[in-house]
Every structure is written in structure tokens, then in C-alpha cells.
């Protein structure tokens, strides 16, 4: 017979206000095997823990039940206390009488008390049959994978690499820098985006511990924390980068002009080349889609002009494998296409552009060399309308959430426009101005007071072409007047949305996404950079819309999580997972189907089911499904479950 101690927590009045804790203690004291029972106001406090330690020592307890809040809250706290007193921590169990009792039955005190007694009895029965267990040790590959090389991914990569660890940085595009590389200036300081970004891209490019892989995508991930096996698809560049010197003769001579995606369709680039002059890596790549030679076998001008014979039309897609210990997802965002909005012309009106297009218009490396000229006829627009919340905060046709950065960047756009076109007029339609950030509200005020930005509180109902003007019909709800503006240019602050294939990547990584496709964090407040899969972290707009300072801060936080993971020689995994009795197992494989974590398999040779203990999350699905009873859940065995049920009935 075990010697079990029961400790009932008041949790202030959270529990004691509903459950008669004294009655629970009195009742459970009579229960077979319980040699000690007491209550205390805050069991998780130091004095509360001391009570447990003291009782373990004095009464030689070999099992402890703490009736308190959810095990998510303090299971670890109490188990460490038990361990300090010499008890195997897996012989301490939590009985949840707060979330599952007092909080939900606050109107029924008598019944709640009876339920608490039954719950405690049941956990005593479980504890009676608990075994002493040891955590499972897991080795760690001290190398990180960062997916996406925007500002957030680069920051994480740099911090992890600077701390002395290898980083594989995978970027789908030919260059790094992400969305920030497309920006002209940044709020609220109006410093040039390139000027603060290029030192970082250059540092990433030359860092000896960062293995930069552009033109690449993560296609498969297996394994578990500390030991991920990653397959990366490397798209062909058709250029020997080891030979190339970056002279760009190929780009100069290439006869095929194509719309520049980097300039969001407003400028031209070539079928071979780099997207912009500061691109890192500064090495050209051929666009498979546009190259004349690759599509018709004619041309080959680039190959003729290349002084170092670096063009390789035979280049092929490769898949390489990497072993890493941690993964950081930093895949960034897209903008909701303006083709989504009929009321703003379905993207058919040339002088209706989105925010990123305005950034390119205003950028000194953009299609107009930084002069604000409208796409249709190249004229300098004199009346510019900025429309905020296009698809954001729109439950009917767009996204219900706030995209967070549009108020600020619209103000920035309007100010930059006014700085270049002094006699122009900027109108901004807004719903609310959300300027919560350091120096943000002041920035908006500066725009209004010094640059004469005209803010109109209301929505725009229609935008249409009339002659060479873009007519904007809206309403100003402060003056209660309808407003009609014959504008030259309209800039839509379209909603931030996840990358179009974020859900596919989530499947590859076995991560959750929210209703919109943003990667799901483990806890919205307390674990904002961790995913629910251990060893995979999130940063930047892949998780939710955010601005540059927030992205950089989150990137640092993700890096510190990686470094914490790498700080020891091995990791510990809870031992409360399943195990298989090979003598009973018939190798039917039902457990493999039942496991959502890929932790079960059937050995080909022995035809016996196996358990990858580190992947097992202890959910018990396979143990319940096992028809022969060969799969056993440690410290949650069938006899334990039956005795727990008996104790309650």
C-alpha cells in the first residue's frame, strides 16, 4: 500500500469560494492509502510548496496529489518541489478542481464540493499505481534553419549566427531583404529603407556561419525538436555563381524585357539579371518563364557576352538535405490583390495602385527614379487620394482584422508625396487612426500640421475612371457631407494577408494556422514566438501583421529561443508517453493511423509496432485504438484508468 499525501489549494477564493476545501480534506483523509491531507491558501507559493516537501520527508510519502488548478499552470512547479524532497516527480499528480470544477460550478457549492472529492479520489487511485519515471534525453543538432530572408528572418539568422551557431537561411526569391527591400522610406523617422537594410543584407551575405540559399524552398520536414531532417528544393539559376563576377553584361545585353515583379509590374527588367542594384546576392539568374533561349532554343546572347563563361543553360533543379535542430518560420506577407475590389475598379484602372506600388514609385531605385509619376501617362499627380482599410476591418468582403501598419504607411506616403509635390493635395480616407507606437501619433500630427494632409473620416464607395481623372466618391462622416474628388492617383492600403502558400508550408512543417492562414503561436500572450511544435518558432508577418520594429523584436525573441534550445548538450522529453509490449503486438498498424504526430510505425522485420518517444505527445490515441492492448501509456495504464473510473462511480 502506497503512502499518499493530498494537498488541497484554495487558490485564494477561486477554489475555496465554491468548493468547501476543509470538507474535501476531511473526506479524503479517510480514503485508503491517504496518510496525509491538508489545505492551504496558495499551494503554489513558496510556503505552500514547503508544506509538500515537509510532508514528503516527515510522512515518507511515495505519492502526492495536489488538488489545484490546471496542470498546464503548475504541474512543473509542484513536480520540481517533489523532486527536491526526494520523490520521483512523476509520482506527483495534479487534480484540477479549478477550471474543471469551481470556476464552472460557482452557483452549486454543495455539488462542486462533492465533485472535488470524487475527482481527488480518482487521482489518488491513479497515483497509487504511478511508476517512477525518468525524462527521455534527446540529442540536439546545433544548427538552425530560417525560412524567409526578409528583415525578420535575416535578424534571426544574424543573431543565431553571431552567437556561434550555423544557420541555413532559405529564401524563395533570387535576393534577400524581403518586403523591406521594396520600401522607399520608413515611418516614423523617414529614414531610407535601403540605408538601414543594406548593411544587414550585406552582413548576411558574407557571414561565415550563414549558409544562404536563394531560389530555394523547403519542401519536406521530418524528425523532431533537435533533430529535424529538411529537404530543400533549389531552383536553377542557369548561371555558375562561382564563376560569375557580377558584371551584369548579360543583363545589359539581354534583348528580352519583362515586367518587374519587384517593381510590382510598373517597371521593366530583363529575362536575366538582378531585381535591383543593391540586391544580395549580386548574381544574375535567368527567368525560366521569360528566357528566349530556354523557350525556343534561339538567342543565347548572355552566353556570348559573358566574359567568364558562367551561363549554364543545362542547370537543373536540385534537392538537398540538411539536418537542423531548430526551425524559424519568417515567410512574411502578401497584400490582398486590388483585383478583389469592384468598388475600386477591380485593378483595371491604371492610376489606382496599392501601397507597395507607391513605395516603388517613390523609391530612387524604382521605375521613375523616385519621382512621383502616375502609371497611365507619367504625369505628376496633383490630387492624390489614399484609401485606408481596403479589405482590412471588413467582415463583409475582406479580412475582419486590422492590418496594423496601414495608418502609418499611408501617412508616410502622403507626407513623402507632399515633400516632392509641394502644390499637390493629399487626401486620406480613414476609419480610425491607429497610431499606437513610439513616435507614431506625433508622426501623424506632423503630417496634418506641417504637411497639410487632409484626413477625411469615412469610406469610399466608388472609384471609377472619367476621362483622364480617377473619380473618388466617398463620405466624410465628421462633416456629414458626401465627398467627390477628381483625383489623378489613388493609393489603396490593401490588407496584409499570409503568403498565398502559407497553408502548404504549414502542412510541410505540421504547424497550425489561424482562420486566415497566419501561423499559429503556442499562446497569444505568453508564448508569442513559439509554435505548438517544439523546436519550431515564428517571427514577423508570417505570424500576424506587424511593422518593422515589432518584426525585428520578434526575430530577436525567436533567436533567443533557438539559442536556449542549443544551450545544453541534450534536451529532455517527458517520459509519460506510450510503450509497446512486443510479445502482445501483432503488428496490425492501427496505432500508426491513430497517431496525429507521426510517432508510430511498424518495424518491417519484426512486424512489431514501434514508438518514436520524442515525437509522442502522450495523447493516448494509439493506446485507446490498440486492439490487443500491446500499446501502454506510461502512468496512464488501463488498470489506472479503470480504477480512476471506479473511484468516481
Amino acid at each position: 500500500m502506497r503512502r499518499i499525501g493530498v494537498f488541497v489549494c484554495w487558490c485564494g477564493y477561486n477554489i475555496a469560494g465554491t468548493v468547501d476545501v476543509k470538507a474535501v480534506v476531511e473526506e479524503i483523509s479517510q480514503y485508503p492509502g491517504v496518510v496525509h491531507a491538508e489545505d492551504y491558501k496558495y499551494m503554489c507559493s513558496d510556503p505552500g510548496q514547503a508544506l509538500i516537501k515537509q510532508a514528503i520527508a516527515e510522512k515518507q510519502l511515495d505519492g502526492v496529489v495536489v488538488a489545484a488548478c490546471s496542470p498546464n499552470m503548475h504541474e512543473t512547479t509542484f513536480r520540481l518541489a517533489a523532486q527536491a524532497a526526494g520523490l520521483n516527480p512523476y509520482r506527483l499528480e495534479i487534480c484540477n478542481i479549478r477550471e474543471q470544477d469551481s470556476w464552472v460550478h460557482s452557483q452549486y457549492k454543495q455539488e462542486a464540493t462533492e465533485k472535488a472529492i470524487e475527482l481527488v479520489r480518482s487521482v489518488v487511485e491513479k497515483t497509487r499505481r504511478d511508476e517512477s519515471l525518468k525524462p527521455i534525453a534527446v540529442s540536439v543538432t546545433k544548427k538552425a534553419l530560417v525560412i524567409g530572408a526578409g528583415i525578420s528572418g535575416m535578424q534571426t539568422a544574424l543573431e543565431v549566427a553571431d552567437a556561434g551557431y550555423q544557420v541555413v537561411l532559405v529564401e524563395r526569391l533570387p535576393h534577400i531583404g524581403g518586403r523591406m527591400a521594396q520600401l522607399s522610406e520608413t515611418f516614423p523617422t523617414l529614414d531610407c529603407a535601403s540605408c538601414i537594410l543594406t548593411p544587414k543584407t550585406a552582413e548576411v551575405g558574407r557571414h561565415e556561419r550563414i549558409q544562404l540559399m536563394t531560389h530555394s524552398e523547403v519542401v519536406k520536414v521530418s524528425g523532431y525538436v533537435g533533430n529535424f531532417n529538411v529537404k530543400i528544393k533549389v531552383h536553377p539559376t542557369y548561371v555558375h555563381w562561382d564563376r560569375c563576377t557580377g558584371c551584369m553584361e548579360c543583363m545589359n545585353k539581354c534583348p528580352k524585357k519583362v515586367d518587374s515583379e519587384f517593381d510590382r509590374g510598373m517597371g521593366k527588367t530583363k529575362a536575366i539579371g538582378v531585381a535591383f542594384p543593391q540586391a544580395v546576392p549580386y548574381r544574375p539568374a535567368i527567368s525560366r518563364e521569360h528566357c528566349i533561349y530556354l523557350n525556343s532554343g534561339k538567342c543565347g546572347v548572355c552566353k556570348k557576352v559573358c566574359p567568364v563563361d558562367a551561363i549554364n543553360f543545362e542547370d537543373e533543379e536540385r534537392v538537398i538535405e540538411e539536418q537542423v535542430g531548430a526551425i524559424v518560420v519568417a515567410t512574411g506577407y502578401d497584400l490582398l490583390p486590388k483585383e478583389h475590389f469592384g468598388e475600386y475598379g477591380y485593378g483595371r484602372i491604371p492610376d489606382v495602385i496599392d501601397g507597395l506600388q507607391f513605395e516603388r514609385l517613390n523609391s530612387s531605385s524604382g521605375p521613375t527614379q523616385g519621382e512621383i509619376r502616375r502609371p497611365s501617362d507619367g504625369r505628376v499627380p496633383k490630387e492624390v487620394v489614399f484609401i485606408q482599410c481596403v479589405g482590412s476591418r471588413d467582415q463583409e468582403k475582406g479580412m475582419p482584422y486590422c492590418s496594423k501598419i496601414c495608418c502609418m504607411y499611408s501617412a508616410k506616403h502622403a507626407m513623402l508625396y507632399k515633400h516632392k509635390v509641394h502644390d499637390g493635395q493629399a487626401y486620406l480616407f480613414y476609419m480610425d487612426i491607429r497610431a499606437a507606437g513610439k513616435g507614431y501619433e506625433e508622426f501623424i500630427q506632423r503630417g496634418v500640421e506641417q504637411d497639410g494632409l487632409l484626413y477625411l473620416r469615412g469610406r469610399v464607395s466608388r472609384v471609377f475612371q472619367e476621362g483622364d481623372k480617377v473619380m473618388v466618391w466617398g463620405t466624410d462622416t465628421l462633416s456629414c457631407e458626401n465627398v467627390r474628388i477628381a483625383a489623378d492617383l489613388v493609393v489603396l492600403a490593401t490588407a496584409i494577408v499570409p503568403r498565398h502558400d502559407a497553408r502548404e508550408l504549414a502542412q510541410v512543417l505540421r504547424l497550425g494556422t489561424d482562420a486566415y492562414g497566419f501561423f499559429q503561436e503556442a499562446h497569444p500572450k505568453l508564448r508569442p514566438v513559439e509554435s505548438l511544435t517544439r523546436g519550431i518558432y515564428l517571427t514577423g508577418c508570417a505570424q500576424a501583421p506587424k511593422d518593422i520594429p515589432d518584426s525585428v523584436a520578434q526575430a530577436g525573441s525567436a533567436a533567443s529561443k533557438v539559442l536556449t534550445l542549443f544551450s545544453g548538450e541534450e534536451l529532455q522529453h517527458p517520459p509519460t508517453v506510450v510503450e509497446v509490449d512486443p510479445d502482445i503486438c501483432v503488428g496490425c498498424g492501427i496505432c500508426v493511423e491513430a497517431c496525429p504526430y507521426g510517432a508510430r510505425a511498424v518495424d518491417e522485420h519484426t512486424r512489431v509496432a514501434t514508438v518514436f518517444e520524442v515525437l509522442c505527445q502522450g495523447c493516448g490515441g494509439c493506446a485507446a485504438a490498440c486492439p490487443s492492448g500491446a500499446t501502454k501509456h506510461r502512468n496512464l495504464t488501463k488498470p489506472q484508468l479503470l480504477s480512476m473510473i471506479d473511484a468516481m462511480l
Partner: protein, 279 residues
Amino acid sequence: MRYSYFPGCTLHTQAKNFGASALASARELGIELVELPDWQCCGAVYPLASDNHMALVSPYRTLSSAHSRGEDLVTMCSGCYNVLKRTNVRVAKDPDVQGKLSAFVETDYRGDARVLHLLEVLKTDLGFEALKERVTRPLTGLSVAPYYGCLLLRPPEDMQFDDAESPSIFEDFIRALGATPVDYPYRTECCGAYVSISEDERSGEPARAILRSAGRYGAHCIVTSCPLCQYNLDVKGQMPVLYFTQLLALALGCTEVLQDFSLHHVDPRPVLAGFANGV
């Protein structure tokens, strides 16, 4: 093709020309429109109150009557179409409303009838390609400004008629008749609706803006499917405003219903005469 036909009040009074041209054209096309016996007012305006269902009783009767005959319900006045279609959607989606109405009317109708606008019949059941082949007098060279107004299209989630921001059914219809649709920005703007009847000065501007815009983009005439829109635009005296069925009748050669334009403020004959015979 046989349908239950709901004319609505105006097609027997102020918009007799609409009804007559529609029935003549339908006959010519082999579309059988059988007027519902003992039909009553569609309800005129769809009730926005969520707790008063009395105004839904009348359209509910119409819908269940068509359904009991096993026929789809066709109407062509935008107002009737809007009220009948939305009532049908509400009855289908809201069991509470359905329960009350069925108890009151003592008919258990669950929103299963198909409510069609005549344009939809032409587009989906007949097909605009087939219509084009039936046209005997193509209106080549006639520039027609389609005027949608609001009731055909909105609210889009209930009406499911066409893209509310950028509709095209009228344009396709006009092309099928051999005429040229005019793309002008005001085709879905409000005409002023009922405000025109009580406060003429204020409502005049929306209608005038529509007419100005259509004129600037080179329209010879406007077509619509709403008697109220037709009135509001036509009464300004600036350009002929026709029901789409009148153009249809013209293109099909049903000229017998196009002899009397006394209901129009602007006589369309001088404009139409240049493009079609028999007017």
C-alpha cells in the same frame, strides 16, 4: 419553356408598354409566360424590420402559388424581382420566419421555388447565343446605355444576379440584339428612387447625372428593367429611356406592340427609326 408569370402592379398600369413588349417577345421566342391567377402586390418594398413579418405574407403567397404549380416564377420589374427573391431567400434560410408565415398563410412553403428575372431566362434558359439567332432586325449601330439601378443587384448575397460592382448581363443582352452597349460609370448609381415623387428638386440631380454621363459616352438611349428608374430618368426629358423588352420586341420584329409611346415623356421613335424599321 413554361413559367408562372408575376407582372406586378405597374406592368398593368404605368408600365403597360413593359408588360406588353415582354409578353409579345416571349411568345415570339417560345417562352410561355402564364400569369399567376389571383396574384397580389409583391409587397412593393422589401421590409428591413427583422421582427415584423406581415409584409412578407404577400410575396410568400405568390411564391408558394408558383411552387404549387410546379413552375419557376418569372418577373421582370426590378422591384418585384427584388422583393420576391429576397423573401424566397429569407424563407429558405430562416426557419423562424418560415414557420410563422406558413402558419399564418396555412401553406407549408419552404423557399424551393426558383425566382427568375426575364433577363435570366434569356441568358440561362434560352441563351444569348440562341437569342442572337432569333433576332430578325439587328439593331446595328444603336448605342445603348444599360442602366441597372440598385434593385436588380443588391444586396448581392441575396440577389445572386450578377457582379454587383461590375455587372454585365445587360451588356451581353444588348450585344445579342446587335446593338452596342455603352460603358459609362453611372450605370449602377441610384436614380433617386421614391424621393423623386415627394421632393423633386433634390432627386433630380442623381437622375440628371446618370443621363449626362450616358450622353457623354455617346448613348442614343437608355434601357432599364425598373419602372421607377424609367420614370425618374425619362421625366427629365433628355434622352429616350426604354424597357429592355421594348428593344427586344423591336429586334424580334414584334412591331405591333411598339405603336404606342404615349407613356413615354421622350418619344424614342426619332432615335430608333435610324436603326430599325417598323417603328
